[in-house]
């Protein structure tokens, strides 16, 4: 009993040491997961670069080779890219939230910047191919700010996710490009000036129509169908009405 009593005196120190060990283990596991997340994002971004490079190559060889073949290859690449680019954007955002517990993580900020720059590239490439290959992919630009300065931007993002889900279930005909104006990317700044955007969220349709402020799903879908009545989502919209 005396031995136990003497051991008992050391219990607080021992308990503290074990707690500290467990705490450090959680921190280390957390760091491992952070690294895994960063590796995953970096890998996916690399995949995206590679796809963009392929598209750029296809764009450059257009005119010198069989345009029809190039267009088929381009369209297939576009479909492939479209299938994961939205998910990647979502993952970057979610992983950033999970990782950033006390301060902004530079890695995700950098990735987001690169991602947005590539989105503009992807958008421009798609416009070009739409013209040259007579493709019916409908682009939609979504300009947004952080949720503190723009209370409705998250709401608008939710609506666009919903439209994107509907579109994925059908023919994947709409390509939504989310552009964060807080990132100070010169191309995005230039586009906001070009489209004279002074209110967020703001949507720019392929015919140049600007819709700023919160728009619900039906309004956006109606506008998309007005521009391109061949879209599959229009069939559903017509059935509903």
């Amino acid at each position: 009993m005396t031995k136990k009593k003497s051991v008992r005196n050391y219990l607080p120190v021992l308990a503290f040491a074990i707690t500290l060990f467990l705490f450090l283990s959680v921190i280390i596991i957390g760091n491992i997961l952070n690294n895994e997340r960063q590796d995953f994002v970096a890998e996916e971004m690399q995949k995206m670069y590679s796809d963009f490079n392929s598209m750029q190559t296809l764009s450059l060889i257009m005119g010198d080779y069989d345009d029809e073949m190039v267009c088929i290859a381009f369209e297939s690449k576009l479909q492939e890219l479209d299938s994961y680019i939205w998910t990647l954007a979502e993952k970057i955002d979610k992983y950033r939230i999970v990782t950033e517990e006390f301060q902004k993580d530079e890695f995700y900020l950098k990735q987001k910047k690169t991602f947005n720059e590539n989105e503009i590239f992807y958008y421009l490439m798609m416009r070009k191919m739409n013209r040259q290959c007579d493709m019916s992919k409908e682009p939609l630009l979504f300009f947004y700010q952080n949720s503190f300065d723009c209370k409705k931007c998250d709401d608008q993002s939710f609506v666009l996710t919903d439209i994107n889900e509907d579109d994925d279930d059908l023919e994947n005909e709409v390509a939504i490009f989310s552009l964060d104006v807080d990132l100070n990317i010169s191309a995005i700044d230039m586009m906001t000036k070009y489209y004279e955007i002074d209110e967020y969220p703001c949507l720019i349709f392929s015919d140049g129509t600007r819709m700023c402020g919160m728009m619900d799903k039906t309004i956006i879908e109606r506008k998309l169908c007005e521009i391109n009545p061949e879209l599959m989502i229009c069939e559903e919209l017509n059935q509903e009405t």
Partner: protein, 411 residues
């Protein structure tokens, strides 16, 4: 808000883990002694008095008396104290104790409160040791033989026993049965090793009469007299022991409303007691008790803040998402995905999950080391973690009442 919530999570995790580790280490050291049987020497047969305060206990007191009649210790007296019951308690007591001269009955027509009648009993009883027992509880026949040897140590002022649930029927009672098996059995035992038992449960606790006289009996102004007296036992440098092997069976609230009334009293009484004895804290003479109690309440308050912050964050997120759906014609299916991504686990999630895991381990270990059977609890094992959500609400209500100086009555 999220940064504050994260910081709070880290702090709560550290304190709660330290608490759990401390508990498990103590358990590991003393695991073989938990059910240690203390021998009752032939020369030690002190007189024992059972005090049974009763207020409107017509439904349960007959069973209680029946169990007392089976108590096999010889040098004993039982005093039933009516506390101005408005039902047939007095009549039932008289009928049931007839012919047994170990029993006596004090029939108060006015209501003195539980502490008041217990003090009345302490004054008139002839025992060297006084067992205070609730009128809705039943005891095992050899409870005195198991408990009394602990008083061979002159420093022992009180001895608690394992509080079990009598015939748990509802889901709530089954969940509480698990809570009692751990909280009012194993925890009390571990606390007794650490000299920080902070309650001598009302269903059954035995006291040294000379100590009761020394500390002036129960505090009649306190709504949790069994909690308050424990503080004064420590203050008078006596120890509170626990005999895990001795059991008392008590009736628990059947409905959430009854549970709320019970816990509102317990938690309000805990605040009342803490405020009364706050000067005992961090004093050398209070020993480990003076450090443990503030730590315990700090953890409860921080836990409450964490709970409120998580509720606020979850509810605001839920409302925000519901509002999102108004823009999409309430199409819920597009946003449901069941893919499990382990990378979505951040440090705060890890901290939360490890606490939950520790809680489950504690429950399992608690049932095993106290030699209980899992099959006796069934659904209660699932309900036990849910009780913690309820208790946060009840703690919140008790703190709110204390801040607003609102008095909570015993009944």
């Amino acid at each position: 808000m999220n940064i504050w919530f994260n910081a709070l999570m880290y702090l709560v995790w550290f304190l709660a883990t330290f608490y759990s580790v401390y508990f498990f280490l103590t358990l590991a050291i003393y695991r073989k002694d938990l059910f240690e049987k203390r021998k009752l020497p032939r020369s030690f047969r002190p007189r024992v008095t059972f005090l049974i305060p009763a207020y409107n206990e017509a439904k349960s007191i007959a069973d209680s008396i029946k169990s007392m009649k089976k108590v096999s210790y010889e040098n004993i007296e039982f005093i039933v104290l009516n506390d101005g019951s408005k039902d047939d308690t007095a009549k039932i007591v008289i009928e049931n104790i007839k012919g047994d001269d170990r029993f006596s009955f004090i029939n108060n027509t006015d209501n003195k409160g539980k502490a008041g009648v217990l003090n009345q009993g302490i004054k008139v009883c002839t025992g060297d040791f006084v067992a205070c027992m609730d009128a809705d509880s039943v005891v095992e026949p050899n409870i005195v033989q198991k408990v009394i040897p602990y008083f061979l140590d002159k420093k022992t002022g009180a001895v608690t026993v394992s509080v079990e649930v009598k015939n748990p029927k509802s889901f709530l009672q089954k969940a509480m049965a698990v809570e009692f098996a751990i909280g009012l059995s194993l925890f009390l035992k571990i606390f007794s090793y650490l000299k920080c038992v902070f309650v001598t449960p009302g269903p059954f606790s035995m006291y040294r009469k000379s100590m009761l006289n020394e500390i002036g009996g129960y505090d009649e102004t306190n709504i949790t007299e069994d909690h308050e007296i424990a503080f004064r036992v420590h203050k008078s440098n006596y120890n509170i022991e626990n005999c895990i092997d001795a059991r008392v069976y008590t009736i628990l609230p059947r409905t959430f409303k009854e549970l709320y009334v019970q816990r509102r009293r317990w938690y309000s009484g805990a605040i009342q007691t803490f405020m009364k004895h706050k000067k005992m804290m961090f004093r050398k003479e209070s020993g480990f008790f003076g450090v443990y109690i503030p730590f315990h309440y700090t953890l409860i308050i921080l836990g409450l803040f964490t709970f409120l912050a998580s509720i606020y964050l979850s509810v605001s997120r839920f409302i925000r998402e519901i509002l999102y759906y108004q823009y999409t014609g309430f199409n819920f299916f597009n946003h449901f995905s069941f893919s499990l991504d382990p990378l979505m686990y951040g440090r705060v999630n890890l901290l939360g999950s490890s606490l939950l895991a520790a809680g489950i381990v504690l429950m399992v270990v608690g049932i095993i080391v106290t030699r209980r059977k899992f099959r006796n609890y069934n659904l209660g094992l699932l309900g036990y973690p849910l009780l913690f959500i309820l208790y946060q609400i009840y703690w919140g209500s008790a703190i709110w009442n204390a801040i607003n100086n609102k008095k909570v009555k015993w009944r």
